[in-house]
């Protein structure tokens, strides 16, 4: 424990606690997890707080978390949580994920995170082309990834059309965030399923 605490300063931990929905213990656990998904030598045992928070792991390593490994939107999730960091520099995606981003991700997926936050990130995740709306292309991609090729192309198209029929209130052939939120917040099990245990 002492070792781990030494990795971060007290102040840092406090700040993390203020910024996420975790207790310090959980933050440390997440850090341990973060350390575990890297190769053994990748994250040095002892490092400065600055290092600890900014050291980056390749995105592919995220797949070592079982929940993310099975998740059909894995790539998209990691993209969302890393790209938002530095939208100015698109190169940041390739650099991988740092601990703070990881922590942020876990915080969003934690049980305590409010619905609005989750909905926001869900929208981000489904918005593949990042144009601020879920267009037909986004929906089809979502559908295909979700079913992993279990539906034929026509079926996918039908499904997406049905989705638009149901939820696209202003009928602009795309779901805006409002429309998306409207639909999703009314789903009973969204909160239960949009959640990763730490």
């Amino acid at each position: 424990m002492g070792n781990k605490v030494a990795t971060f300063t007290e102040e840092q931990l406090e700040d993390y606690q203020d910024c996420t929905f975790f207790t310090r213990k959980e933050i440390l656990r997440i850090f341990k997890k973060f350390r575990a998904i890297g190769d053994s030598g990748m994250i040095p045992r002892i490092m400065t707080p600055q290092q600890a928070s900014s050291l980056r792991l390749p995105l592919s390593y995220l797949a070592r978390i079982p929940e993310l490994k099975e998740n059909p939107f894995r790539e998209r999730i990691s993209e969302v949580f890393t790209r938002r960091q530095d939208p100015g520099h698109s190169t940041s995606i390739s650099e991988g994920i740092c601990f703070e981003e990881f922590l942020e991700m876990m915080s969003v997926f934690s049980e305590q995170a409010p619905r609005d936050l989750k909905v926001f990130y869900a929208f981000k995740i489904y918005d593949f082309d990042e144009d601020g709306v879920l267009g037909m292309g986004d929906l089809e991609r979502t559908c295909r990834q979700l079913t992993r090729g279990g539906l034929s192309a026509e079926e996918v198209t039908t499904v997406c059309q049905k989705v638009l029929e149901e939820s696209d209130i202003d009928s602009d052939e795309a779901l805006s965030f409002l429309e998306f939120e409207h639909v999703v917040t009314r789903a009973s099990d969204f909160m239960a399923t949009f959640h990763i245990r730490i």
């Binding site: 700040d15 203020d18 079982p66 099975e70 981003e101 979700l146 009314r186 990763i196």
Partner: protein, 1081 residues
């Protein structure tokens, strides 16, 4: 305010933010606040928006108006405190924001720095509040955490505890909800049966086994020697004969005597069964109600089937490849199901070909049903007409079972083939088929039952010629008169043994009453043993209580059994001897003695002698008073057929007894407690052996209740075996064959002819319902059947799930089971109702068997209950009950109920209509409202350019933020968009936007701070709202639509917020106008 600068700074340049923090802070602390304000006039509101948004999205509420005010005042303590508060709110709320962690961190650090700086200044105030706050917060956090943890664990545990849950989930993911519904149903049935079986076992079987007195049971619990030999043979077990017949499994085994511990066994039997039937009804109805409630809920939420499946289909917690595969499969299936539903909605063709085909199918189904009923009736008739040993073979014995099982197995296949011709939607096809098979099963059961009842009716009158029956009928009430009647008939010689068993019961009960007589101790000492054995010319008479039979013609007996006198003499000798003794006599009826005295009549004397010699050994036990007196009654028949049966008895007074010694030969065995029931039973069985086997056999067979139970139990077992066989052959072996022979076969086995089997939901559901119906029907006649059924259901669960997962393929057309599945339950309920009818008939109309079961001796089964009720209630209440049960009450009651039902039905109809209307209206309004909102949002986009110098500051300055941010980098623009989104997500914002779009004159009104005004202005814009009272309506709807989870609760706070907000707004307006004034000055 500081917060705002922080924000803006952050937006401006993230990198040098931390560097500039101190500077900003210092600047802020300085007195140049106003100038700073002038410099960046828009910033406060930008933040204000942020704050509002945050407040909306979080639990922490702050009032942005407050900060605005505080900024205007001087930099006194109050203000610092306010700022501190604000910062704390920032600290609390920052985690709710969808920003990158780094930005949040910066903000947090900033706020913290500020807090730290000023903490010293306001220490006394803060120290207090902070510590308590902290403690409370920590405690509450801890508690909620633990609570959440435990709740989660509990839920996990609960799902883990639900049996077969994982199995069912797996099936559901592969085969769809329709197949899974079968298993859920099966599991539910299992629970119901568990409850039933446990209740019956606890209140009927166990008390009977523990407390019932075997010696009083007559022939109920003993097997004939002939039967005993074969009792453990598989064949007899198969037919539920032998050991199983004489076990708690069947009705016939139960005694009609209360146990010696005052547990009323027959009563318990009756009441428990009643309770169990009631429970079944209640359980089904409750489940149905629950389901319909559920379906009502889901119906309302059915708006976004596809969207929900798409957006919330994936469970992010899945971390197991297997589960994830299942999940994907289930999502795909779910999509296919709903797609099919959609396709089906559009398909509606009226086609003559199909219609004629449907007519044809229905006709053929009807003829098949008629055929099956005919077959069952014929078979039952055939099998019950004559059961001769010669013609009796395995086939003849089991033909009913086999024919019925065959029908239930084969006919559904025909139905299925016919069903395909009808061309219905799969779900409708399923239902139609369900209904048909159900009718078939019901028809079978009913024809079986009524054929059997007919049989019973032909069985019962055959015994009515026995005069003893009359007396027995009244014996139910345990009246001594019966005994008198019996003696008066003087037809003892014609008595069947069964009658005598009952008679012995009578005498027994009578004797029991006399126990209280003071002479009892002396009775005890009079220990006699009546030799039950009689050879061809020996006649015994067995009435001990001659005082009760004053009219008995003893001479008659004397004449008949002259040879008995010697016995009497010896017996008297015994008597004297025994009285000479130390007044305690025990006959340790060991087997040798019994064997001896059974050999011939003379042995009786020997026995007495023997027994006297054994006095010494038995005395102690008699003194303990635990012995049981057993009276063995022998009867005489002209045919010299003597049946004797033994009963436990406490003998009545000695005097009476001794005075009648000459006339009657009485034997009273006093068997010490040492003489175990085993000996007693052997004693009995040996005596019974002497009965005429033919008569006894016939009597035993005449226990129609047991026969009934046996029939149903056989059916249950046969059904199970057929199911297993069918599963193995139709599913398993076929699958194996197809899989392995496919390579060396002429055609593609998997695609063409045999294929893999698919799971037949209709048959299987119906099979369950049918099975349950059999159990309900047989439950009364065979309590063990419930346990058997429990076993069967367990086996079925495993068998079916195994078969489904290993050798079935999903149905080609996957369709969703209807949500509620109430159809299954409706079938089950009807089945229960129809199965209770025959049982009720048996209880109310048919005379129970005379020598077996708990109700023997009663004219009708239910008389037992009514009699008990009558005996226990006072006269007045009885009269009331009588009146209530009379037509005078019943008929008006029925009329009343009919009227109420009629009323309720019409009420339901109108309510449903109203409900639909309201739902339509609600949906319409909601859509309209949302449309409007979007329109406003669009309008807002256009309005942004319009310069609204003063107004801009006051109103939530999205446009400003936007214009300002437009200068900045892409990031900030994005953030602005987010901000916009957040704003938009709240009604107030929506309202403000409306305001935004308004004209200046309206604004002035608004500045006056009247929230009503504001509403009115909005109303002016909202064309659809004509009424002031309807002001809140749209708010309601908006609130409802956004807060779907608790619409009622959310509506009110939302409105309040509205008011509050408008108040704030007005305050802000005032402030802003002040500020502007200053600006201008």
């Amino acid at each position: 305010m500081e917060d705002s600068t922080v924000d803006d700074k952050g937006n401006d340049s993230e990198d040098d933010y931390s560097v500039s923090v101190c500077a900003i802070m210092q600047r802020r602390n300085s007195s140049r606040r106003q100038s700073r304000r002038k410099r960046r006039p828009s910033s406060p509101f930008g933040v204000d928006v942020d704050n509002v948004a945050r407040r909306r999205s979080s639990v922490y509420t702050t009032s942005s108006g407050d900060t605005a005010i505080s900024m205007e005042e001087g930099g006194n303590q109050e203000q610092i405190f306010e700022n501190l508060k604000l910062h704390k709110e920032v600290l609390g709320g920052v985690k709710q924001q969808p920003w990158p962690l780094r930005r949040k961190l910066r903000l947090v650090r900033q706020a913290k720095a500020y807090v730290r700086r000023h903490e010293g200044a306001l220490q006394e105030r803060l120290a207090q509040s902070r510590s308590t706050k902290d403690v409370i917060a920590r405690v509450s956090l801890f508690v909620t955490k633990k609570w959440q943890y435990f709740r989660r664990e509990f839920i996990n545990l609960r799902t883990w505890l639900v049996p077969w849950e994982i199995r069912i989930m797996e099936i559901e993911s592969h085969f769809g909800s329709a197949v899974a519904s079968y298993f859920t149903f099966l599991r539910w049935l299992f629970w119901i049966n568990l409850v039933i079986a446990v209740t019956l076992t606890a209140f009927v079987v166990i008390p009977e086994v523990l407390t019932a007195d075997a010696t009083l049971a007559g022939e109920r619990k003993i097997m004939l020697e002939e039967e005993r030999i074969k009792s453990k043979h598989l064949l007899s077990l198969w037919e539920f004969e032998g050991a199983l017949k004489y076990s708690p499994f069947f009705y016939g085994w139960y005694t009609n005597q209360d146990s010696n511990r005052n547990y009323r066994l027959p009563m318990a039997y009756f009441v428990t069964n009643l309770v169990v039937y009631t429970y079944s009804f209640v359980a089904i109805l409750r489940k149905m109600a629950e389901n319909s409630r559920l379906s009502k809920l889901t119906e309302k939420e059915d708006e976004y089937v596809f969207s929900w499946k798409l957006f919330t289909g994936w469970d992010f917690m899945i971390g197991n490849p297997e589960t994830s595969h299942n999940r994907t499969a289930s999502i795909v299936l779910g999509f296919k199901e709903v797609l099919l539903e959609e396709a089906e909605k559009q398909k509606d063709k009226r086609n003559w070909k199909i219609i004629s085909m449907r007519i044809f199918v229905n006709v053929s189904v009807l003829s098949l049903l008629a055929l099956s009923a005919f077959a069952v009736i014929k078979v039952v008739e055939r099998s019950t007409t004559e059961i001769d040993d010669a013609t009796q073979n395995w086939w003849r014995q089991n033909e009913i079972t086999i024919v019925m099982s065959l029908i239930t197995t084969l006919f559904p296949i025909f139905f299925e083939v016919l069903g395909f011709l009808e061309n219905y939607h799969p779900r409708k096809q399923l239902r139609v088929q369900l209904a048909r098979i159900w009718i078939l099963n019901l028809l079978n059961l009913y024809s079986l039952i009524f054929a059997l009842f007919k049989d019973v009716n032909s069985m019962v009158p055959s015994k009515h010629d026995l005069p003893v029956n009359k007396s027995i009928d009244t014996n139910c009430e345990y009246k001594l008169v019966c005994g008198v009647e019996f003696t008066c008939t003087q037809q003892i010689t014609t008595l069947a043994s069964m009658g005598l068993v009952l008679m012995s019961n009578i005498t027994h009960s009578h004797a029991k009453r006399e126990i209280i007589k003071p002479t009892l101790p002396s009775v005890r000492q009079q220990t006699f043993f009546l030799n039950p054995l009689l050879d061809s010319n020996a006649y015994y008479e067995d009435f001990n209580d001659t005082s009760d039979y004053p009219n008995t013609n003893y001479e008659n007996y004397d004449i008949l059994n002259s040879s008995n006198i010697s016995y009497t003499a010896s017996y008297e000798e015994e008597d004297s001897q025994s009285t000479d003794d130390d007044r305690t006599y025990g006959y340790n009826a060991n087997s040798t003695v019994i064997a001896n005295f059974l050999t011939d009549s003379t042995v009786a004397e020997d026995f007495y002698i023997n027994s006297t010699t054994q006095d010494e050994t038995a005395t102690s036990t008699i003194e303990t008073n635990t012995m049981e007196d057993s009276l063995i009654i022998t009867d005489f028949t002209e045919k010299t057929i003597i049946t004797s049966s033994s009963i436990d008895d406490e003998v009545s007074s000695v005097k009476e007894f001794s005075s009648t010694v000459e006339a009657t030969l009485e034997t009273v065995t006093k068997i010490s407690s040492e003489s175990s029931p085993a000996i007693l039973r052997s004693n009995k069985s040996m005596s019974l052996e002497q009965q005429d086997l033919k008569i006894r056999k016939k009597l035993r067979r005449s226990c129609w209740e047991t026969m009934f139970g046996q029939e149903l139990a056989k059916l249950t077992v046969m059904d199970l075996i057929l199911t297993i066989l069918a599963t193995l052959s139709i599913d398993f072996f076929r699958a194996v064959f197809v899989r392995y022979m496919n390579n060396c076969w002429c055609w593609d086995l998997e695609k063409q002819f045999p294929q893999y089997g698919d799971f037949k939901i209709a048959e299987n559901i119906l099979h369950l319902v049918y099975n349950q119906g059999m159990v309900w029907m047989g439950m009364f006649f065979s309590p063990g059947l419930t346990v058997l059924n429990l076993l069967k259901l367990g086996i079925l669960m495993y068998l079916r799930s195994w078969a489904v997962l290993t050798c079935n393929v999903p149905h080609e057309v996957v369709f969703r089971a209807s949500r509620s599945n109430n159809f299954y339950f409706a079938l089950l309920l009807t089945m229960l109702f129809l199965c209770v009818l025959p049982v009720g008939y048996a209880i109310v109309w048919v005379k129970p068997s005379l020598h077996c079961g708990p109700f023997s001796g009663c004219p009708k089964i239910y008389n037992l209950a009514t009699q008990t009720l009558k005996n226990s209630l006072p006269q007045v209440i009885q009269r009331c009950l009588d009146y209530i049960a009379s037509p005078g009450i019943i008929i008006p009651l029925i009329v009343l109920m009919t009227l109420i039902i009629y009323y309720m039905t019409s009420l339901t109809g109108s309510l449903r209509e109203a409900n639909n209307d309201l739902r339509m209206q609600l949906r319409h309004e909601r859509t309209e409202e949302r449309r409007k909102l979007f329109k406003i949002a669009e309008k807002r986009q256009n309005v942004t350019d319009i310069p609204l110098s003063k107004w801009k500051k006051i109103l939530p300055a999205l446009p400003q933020a936007k214009t300002e941010l437009s200068r900045n980098s892409d990031i900030t623009r994005k953030d602005a968009v987010q901000v916009a989104i957040e704003n938009l997500s709240h009604t107030i914002e929506g309202k403000r936007m409306i305001n935004d779009a308004e004209e200046d004159s309206l604004r002035h009104e608004q500045i006056s701070g009247n929230c009503n005004n504001e509403k009115r202005t909005r109303e002016g814009n909202d064309l659809e709202l004509n009424d002031i009272s309807s002001n809140k309506k749209p708010i309601n709807f908006v609130g409802h639509s956004w807060d779907s989870q608790s619409s009622e609760q959310s509506v009110v706070p939302e409105i309040q917020l509205n008011d509050e907000e408008s108040a704030h707004g007005s305050v802000e307006l005032n402030n802003a106008s002040k500020g502007c004034d200053r600006e201008t000055t």
